[in-house]
Amino acid sequence: MINASLKELSAALAAKQLSSVELAGLFLDRIERLNPLLNAFITVDRERSLAMAREADARIARGESGPLTGIPVAHKDIFCAEGWLTSCGSKMLSNFVSPYDATVIERFKAAGTVTLGKTNMDEFAMGSSNETSFYGPVKNPWDTAAVPGGSSGGSAAAVSARLTPAATGTDTGGSIRQPAALCGLTGLKPTYGVVSRWGMIAFASSLDQGGPMAKSAEDCALLLNAMAGFDERDSTSLERPAEDYARDLDKPLAGLRIGLPKEFFAEGLSADVAQAVEAAIAEYRRLGAVAVNISLPNMKLSVPAYYVIAPAEASSNLSRFDGVRYGWRAPQYGDLADMYCKSRAQGFGAEVKRRILIGTYVLSHGYYDAYYLQAQRIRRLIAADFAEAFKSCDLIMGPTSPSVAFGLGAKAGDPVQMYLSDIYTIAINLAGLPGMSIPCGTGARNLPVGLQIIGDYFGEARMLNAAHQYQLATDWHRRAPAL
């Protein structure tokens, strides 16, 4: 049952082979047993989860269930969920029990899913290894001495270890795709504006996007159907007709044009990752796709531009944490300014402070044009590269991460080296395109390798189609760590 797809789980619930309460109990027991080893969850609340499961069972009994009713889902601790501690991995919010639901949580509740808990993450989603969490690092279930990736590392480890059938994540520069790759999962970051950001604690508002993390493309399609949709409370939410993201799963891939950017396969890519990705492309050729060589000449500028734009927006977003309305307040302080300075110094961890300082500097008087405006111009050049590339291909493929999961602590002391682990994912956020990662093999130390699939705007159904067809022909996505 722990390896079953969402469709199989839903069928089992509908056929009364098991109840939602039993299903939730099964996963809660696994969490109880394995979370001490992995630290994937910040909050688990068995009673609250079982109450939701009872409600789902009643709904199923009344014949009012949908495709996700009764299915357990874990949520990244960045999504505000009423009555649940919503810490965002930070001491700053370590006392914040949310008084309201994020739109994503509301939508999952409406679909009848059962919240299994809130997953660990890099503090305020700033990190690529899940080592910046106030609640301690998450371990990779494939190798507990390695990182799970970040920032949605808790969600990735939880799905990978089969502590939950599915989870939510958020992706600002790779935070769904990179941990999905490092933990052997399927994860999708939608087109910017497809999933509501309301109630999702903001890091870099023009880049942040929520998305599903699960065992397969088919599961991700069902989850995205629940998550996506216009929300008038998010000013950047896109007003578009509802889509069934699973509609194209079964289409054959004959004639699909796959763009291979030469920049993705250049110096810097580990040989083991390159080999697995190339084997995946060969499999796509067997499935009828054709490979096209493309170039994204400005991709090299994505990391520098990102480390201006994301910290600038973060410094602005995180100014709300001042110890007045919510969050940490220093126990001792002098005047108001001192209360702000001490509360923020104590409430934020080192990486968050670093990014706030970078952002404050690049937005400060006299530097705005040289940094923020220049970064936004480069952002347009990067988006234009993708527009040009999509004239000759339908999807772009390459590695998600330059290497398999690295060791805990290996990059923790060197922010620049950590930032470069998102070299293949950041450009997609800057352009606002959808991207996903699917497992496509193993590399060094037998650890999973992720294949990144990038679509044109609103190309999610096509990406999921390509991912699903690959998953019908291969079994990398079925492999689970021995725990």
């Binding site: 504006g193 110890g323 402070k353 705007y457």
Partner: protein, 111 residues
């Protein structure tokens, strides 16, 4: 530029911009973050490493390129001017550090 070269760039290229300790302190003041004694130096070194990475951007000629704020060029949506939220201030203030009579308490600002 591949990953390795970027990394070399970040580490080896002479810093075209380097923050002083005073500047770091000023940024921290602006950001309302107190730096512990001795913390400024380590912070400066890390920020300088990150700025070396960022500096690569400066060499690019972007004359005539319009800045891109959001991925989709959509106009700001306006909503009808009517109250849609219910009054839940008691719930919201429950998570505040210090509240009295429906007000957030902070140190006295005006004597």
């Amino acid at each position: 530029m591949p990953y390795d070269t970027l990394l070399r760039f970040a580490i080896l290229v002479p810093r075209t911009m380097s923050l002083s300790l005073d500047q770091v302190q000023r940024i921290a003041d602006l950001a309302r973050i107190e730096l512990a004694p001795g913390e400024a130096e380590q912070t400066r070194d890390q920020l300088n490493g990150i700025f070396a990475l960022i500096e690569e951007m400066q060499a690019v000629n972007t004359a005539g390129v319009a800045p891109m704020a959001h991925a989709q060029d959509v106009a700001q949506r306006l909503r009808e001017d009517r109250a849609v939220e219910t009054d839940r201030h008691a719930d919201f203030q429950e998570v505040a550090p210090e509240v009295e009579a429906g007000l957030y308490l902070v140190p006295r600002v005006i004597e």
